[in-house]
């Protein structure tokens, strides 16, 4: 990585940018290895293998190997993309590396077994842009990821990074910046969807000698990881958005409040900040414009409620992360009682785009009231898990089926959960709903930070509600009685229902309680804590009723309600379930029907998952038949 010189003027910046892009273009081939989830699946080992191979063949001058940002197709990671051809290899292992260098880097041959093959048509896609997962996305933010090395500010310069900041500082008044963001129609990507331009304006107009701006990177929603990916992949874009925001509202100090559970994101943002200081893009008198701004990183300590603005502020101040009454809003009285603006990671990553391309360009994407794109983390029982960026207004069907490739193992779709613990589940009848802030709220859920957890017929909706309530009762800060006790009681009732102790009066009681928690709690966590129950009751009441009156769990998840058995007529005697059983509870010889010993069975479900002929089924537990 080239050590960047301090830039003292816009002319210095222009020179640095040209140098960076010339340096990049000097290589004949560039190999980008996707980093985030892929580093969980050995992206770094792959990088080392590539570097060693390139060095062994003495190709350092010709071939640039780098760890790039996240490519998003996490189900098939680690991904390797070749520039200029843009050939894309999936699930690459270190042992594939010598062949890739020999065949693709040197001879321009494509290695067939590493390219994407459509599971339905069998058609092969050599280029990333041909893969259906990518073809149907609109990747305004994510597309930069594969084009840069998140640890190198030079590679961000090479794609015209920090141009938006330069434009703001040299050619725009703070009010113009706010107007541009207002025109873009950008709304907060952290959950509530408040228009960003207006939020900035409130803080700009607030009286106070010094102001703060905070980047909220405390991505707490379980099942959502787009903020982690953006921070890890393109930390400078977030930082640039933050500096532009600081200029717009008149802040001289900023914080990045980031989850401690994301070690790579912490490392990358810290590195980006250090590089920006070194380059003169942070600190005193940025590029000679007279604007000064400092940034600090604060790590969270594992409290979900700290995603709430006032709790986050309390946490930075070194107190327990308990929310407080609003107003006063942070815009007038926030961190250390100074006017404070808080924006989510993805919101800030949109800002450089809006500044360089213009607010009206940005507002062309999306629906009437929700502009631009949104990154969703498409996970759960869907084939192509990963990060998906689409224009607002795309439908669930487009995301789950066209991009996501449908449900794993072609099982029936049951629901998709959005908005994290504050959100809700959307059933199959609304698959064709166009997604924006308003439509989701009508469906009884929220956009949230963009988690999209797909569920199939083997997911029990009562268990899902219990899961979220268990999460919420653990994460409730305890300040409000309704939230602290309400989530606990709701969880107890849900646990009763899942364990076979449900009673007919439970459902109306839960509805009452959920409304009470919503109505009488202080912060966003409490006010939405009833949603997991209310939304599953709204669409899946029959499943609840089955659990209570028939003691039956159709998904086969609630263990006390089920028992496994082998259907002798369907069993081909393949031994797969027998091998899978950790209890040795299955007997039977090859090509003979197997039998499960109910006494030894611990209902782990491994046999059920292992069976290829659907011969293992779950039935109502005999213990409960007489109940």
């Amino acid at each position: 990585m080239a050590k960047s010189k301090k830039l003292r003027s816009v002319a210095d910046y222009d020179r640095a940018r040209k140098e960076a892009s010339a340096q990049r273009n000097a290589y004949e081939a560039r190999i980008s290895i996707g980093c985030t989830s892929c580093s969980a699946s050995d992206g770094r080992a792959l990088l080392e293998a590539f570097q060693a191979e390139v060095a062994r063949r003495g190709l350092q001058e010709k071939v640039l190997v780098r760890l790039s940002g996240c490519h998003g197709f996490c189900a098939k990671g680690p991904l390797v993309v070749f520039v200029p051809h843009r050939i894309c290899y999936l699930k690459v292992k270190p042992s594939d590396v010598p062949e890739i260098i020999e065949e693709t880097a040197l001879k321009n041959n494509v290695i067939d077994r590493l390219v994407y093959r459509d599971p339905k048509t069998g058609q092969k896609c050599q280029l990333e842009s041909q893969i259906p997962f990518y073809k149907r996305q609109l990747r305004l933010i994510m597309d930069y990821n594969k084009r840069l090395d998140p640890r190198d500010i030079g590679s961000y310069f090479a794609i015209d990074g920090y141009e938006g900041l330069i434009k703001a500082l040299t050619r725009m008044e703070p009010e113009d910046v706010i107007l541009e963001v207002k025109n873009s129609g950008l709304r907060g990507r952290g959950g509530a969807g408040f228009p960003t331009g207006f939020k900035w304006e409130f803080c700009r107009k607030a009286k106070g000698s010094s102001k703060f701006i905070i980047c909220n990177a405390d991505e707490g929603d379980p099942g959502a990881y787009m903020d982690r990916s953006v921070m890890e992949s393109n930390p400078h874009s977030v930082l640039e958005g933050l500096i532009i925001g600081a200029y717009a509202i008149g802040a001289d100090e900023g914080y990045v409040y980031i989850r401690n559970e994301y070690p790579i994101a912490v490392e990358h943002i810290k590195l980006a900040i250090a590089q920006a200081y070194e380059a003169g893009l942070l600190g005193k008198d940025i590029l000679g414009t007279g604007f000064s701004f400092d940034v600090h990183v604060e790590r969270g300590a594992g409290a979900f409620v700290c995603g709430e603005e006032t709790a986050l502020i309390a946490s930075i101040e070194g107190r327990r992360g308990e929310p407080r009454q609003r107003p006063p809003f942070p815009a007038t009285k926030g961190l250390y009682n100074k006017p404070t603006n808080i924006n989510n990671v993805e919101t800030l990553a949109n800002i450089p785009l809006i500044l360089t391309r213009g607010g009206s360009w940005y507002s062309h994407f999306g629906t009437r009231n929700s502009k631009g794109t949104k990154i969703f983390s498409l996970v759960g029982k869907v084939r192509n898990t990963g990060l998906v960026e689409v224009a607002m207004g795309s439908t669930f069907r487009e995301i789950i089926y066209d991009i996501g490739g449908g449900i794993q193992d072609d099982r029936p779709f049951k629901a998709v959960q959005t908005g994290g613990p504050s959100g809700g589940c959307v059933p199959a009848e609304h698959l064709d709903q166009a997604i924006d802030y308003e439509s989701l709220s009508k469906l009884g859920t929220i956009m949230g930070s963009g988690g999209m957890i797909v569920m199939d017929d083997r997911t029990c909706m009562v268990d899902v509600a219990r899961y979220f309530m268990s999460f919420l009762r653990n994460e409730s800060c305890g300040k409000c009685l309704t939230c602290r006790e309400g989530t606990q009681r709701l969880w107890e009732i849900l646990d009763d229902i899942c364990e076979g102790r449900g009673k007919p009066g439970h459902l109306p009681l839960m509805e009452d309680l959920a409304h009470c928690v919503k109505d009488a709690s202080l912060c966003g966590l409490g006010q939405t804590a009833g949603n997991p129950v209310l939304s599953t009751l709204r669409y899946f009441r029959d499943e609840y009723e089955e659990h209570i009156s028939e003691k039956r769990c159709r998904a086969g998840v609630c263990k006390p309600l089920i028992e496994y058995r082998v259907v002798a007529e369907k069993c081909v005697g393949c031994l797969l379930c027998k091998k899978a059983c950790p209890q040795d509870a299955i007997t039977g010889e090859l090509k003979q029907a197997h039998v499960i010993d109910g006494e030894r069975c611990i209902k782990c479900g491994l046999c059920y998952a292992a069976c290829k002929s659907d011969a293992v089924e779950h039935v109502k537990s005999r213990d409960l038949c007489h109940a």
Partner: protein
Amino acid sequence: MISLLQDIQEAFGYLPEAALKVVSERTGRPLVDVYGVATFYKLFRFKPRGRQLLSVCLGTACHVRGSAQVAEELGKKLGVKPGETSADGEFTLETVNCLGCCAIGPVVVKEGRYHGQVTLKELGGLVKKDGSANGDGRAG
């Protein structure tokens, strides 16, 4: 205050009482206040951790793919509940809300190394004392 506590935990593996007393003295905040902050956040431990840390992700995506069973099974194998350390001091079992590797769930992290799409069958290898399963971090 929180970064201070984080640094102490990084150095000792947990927050020893003596260290919290020093924090209270140096910052001028009452000890009860320091404890109040430390106990609020899930990250902080008040007992020493085992030589190896096993974190099971309980995020939603991992949940629908069976992480609750993974945590239960690991607990059984080690004879501990989440938050506890095995009798031989080798393993501490923890659960976390979400690690953000949702696409490759269920996920278990053993000493900073991510194991994606773990199956119940693989768990035996993860809790071997010699750490022989360290080398097979599976690709998602």
